[in-house]
C-alpha cells in the first residue's frame, strides 16, 4: 500500500471517523467494534438488518460502512448487497461515495465480483486476519478511488490493475470529465 515518500508517514486518525457495522452475528460484530475501538474510533453504530442500517444511514452521520453480506432478515430477501445498492443509488442516500467494506464468508470469486459490481469499495473474506482487515480499511479511507457511472453502475472505479506494458490508446481517459 505504501506509495513511498510522504505516504510512508501518513497516519489515520480514526477518532475523526464515524462507522456503521452491519453484522447479524453478535460476537463477530462485537469483534469488529473492539478492533475499531482499539484503533481509537469514537463513534461506532451497529445494525443487524437492512431496515435498521438504512435508518442509521439516513441520519447522515456515518462516514464508513462495514457490512456482512448475509443479514438477519435474508429470508425476506434483504442482504448487505441491498444496503450497498441503497447507499450508491438511492436518492435519499446521504453519501453515495461512502467507503464500504463488504466482510463476508461468501468469499468465492463469484461473490467478490458481484460485490465489486454492486459498488463495494473493499472486500474482506471471512475468516480474516486483522492485518488484512486493517489494510483494506486504511486503503478505503486514505486511498479513495475515483467514482464512475456507466450504464446501471455507480461506484468506485473497478479497474485496479495498471499494465505498465500497455501501449494502446487510453480510450477511457479521453472520456474523463472529472
Amino acid at each position: 500500500m505504501s506509495d513511498g515518500g510522504m505516504a510512508d508517514y501518513e497516519r489515520i486518525d480514526f477518532s475523526k471517523i464515524s462507522f456503521l457495522v452491519v453484522e447479524p452475528n453478535r460476537l463477530m460484530g462485537q469483534m469488529v467494534r473492539d478492533v475499531l475501538m482499539t484503533l481509537d474510533a469514537q463513534y461506532i453504530d451497529r445494525a443487524r438488518d437492512f431496515e435498521s442500517a438504512v435508518t442509521l444511514l439516513r441520519m447522515g452521520r456515518i462516514d464508513v460502512m462495514i457490512t456482512e453480506w448475509v443479514l438477519s432478515d435474508e429470508k425476506l430477501g434483504r442482504t448487505g448487497m441491498d444496503i450497498v445498492h441503497w447507499v450508491r443509488n438511492d436518492a435519499q442516500s446521504p453519501n453515495r461515495m461512502m467507503p464500504i467494506l463488504m466482510m463476508t464468508a461468501n468469499s468465492e470469486e463469484e461473490y467478490v465480483c458481484r460485490a465489486r459490481d454492486c459498488g463495494v469499495s473493499e472486500f474482506v473474506a471471512k475468516p480474516y486476519t486483522v492485518n488484512g482487515f486493517y489494510t483494506r480499511l486504511a486503503a478505503a479511507i486514505a486511498r479513495p478511488r475515483q467514482f464512475v457511472r456507466i450504464d446501471a453502475y455507480f461506484g468506485p472505479d473497478r479497474r485496479r490493475r495498471r499494465d505498465a506494458d500497455y501501449d494502446g490508446p487510453e480510450r477511457r481517459a479521453a472520456l474523463d470529465i472529472g
Binding site: K126, V148, I177
Partner: protein, 173 residues
C-alpha cells in the same frame, strides 16, 4: 461482450474523509507497526473462547435443523435455510480463532447444502457426516489444519459432496 449504451462518467476521488482523518502526527500508520498489529490481534484472541462457545451453539442448531429437514414436514424449508446460514457463519468464524479446519469443513457443508432444496437420504447422510466432523474438530480442539486423518476425511467429504450435490443449483444465491 455487449456494447455499452453510455459513455462512462468519472468523478474524482472523494477527499472529505481523507482531509479530515489523514495527517502526519496522530493515529495509525497505513502500514501498521508490529506492536500496533499485536494490539489488534489481542482483541481477536480475547474473543476466542466466546467464539468457540458460539460455534458450539451453532453446531447444536445444525443438528436440530438436520432433524427437521429429515422429518420433511412444514419446518423443512426453514431448516434448510438454517443449514445454509449456520454453515456459512461457521465457515467465517473457524479460522478467526485458530480452527481453520472448522472453516474447511463448514465450507464443504455450505457448498453442498446451497445446491439442495429437498435432500435425498444419501444427501442427508453426507450432511450428517459433515456436521459430525465439525463436532469432532471442536470437541477435540483440533487447531491448525489437523493431521493426516483430518485431511483425508476432508478430502473424502469433498469427493462425496461433489458426487451427490445438485448440479442444477450449483450457483451463488
Amino acid at each position: 461482450m455487449a456494447p455499452r449504451k453510455h459513455k462512462p462518467v468519472f468523478t474524482p476521488p472523494p477527499q472529505d474523509l481523507r482531509r479530515r482523518a489523514v495527517n502526519f502526527t496522530k493515529g495509525f500508520r497505513l502500514k501498521l507497526a508490529p506492536e500496533e498489529l499485536r494490539k489488534l490481534e489481542e482483541v481477536v484472541e480475547r474473543a476466542s473462547d466466546a467464539l468457540s462457545q458460539d460455534v458450539a451453539g451453532k453446531l447444536r442448531l445444525l443438528r436440530a435443523a438436520l432433524e427437521d429437514v429429515a422429518a420433511a414436514d412444514t419446518r423443512a424449508d426453514t431448516a434448510m435455510r438454517a443449514l445454509r446460514t449456520l454453515s456459512l457463519e461457521i465457515k467465517g468464524m473457524g479460522g478467526m480463532f485458530k480452527y481453520p479446519l472448522l472453516t474447511a469443513f463448514a465450507k464443504s457443508l455450505n457448498d453442498f447444502v446451497k445446491t439442495i432444496d429437498q435432500p435425498t437420504p444419501i444427501q442427508l447422510d453426507i450432511i450428517a457426516a459433515q456436521i459430525d466432523a465439525l463436532y469432532v474438530v471442536l470437541a477435540r480442539q483440533i487447531q491448525g489444519d489437523g493431521g493426516r486423518t483430518e485431511r483425508e476425511l476432508l478430502q473424502a467429504l469433498r469427493q462425496a459432496t461433489a458426487k451427490y450435490k445438485n448440479p442444477a443449483r450449483d450457483t451463488a444465491d
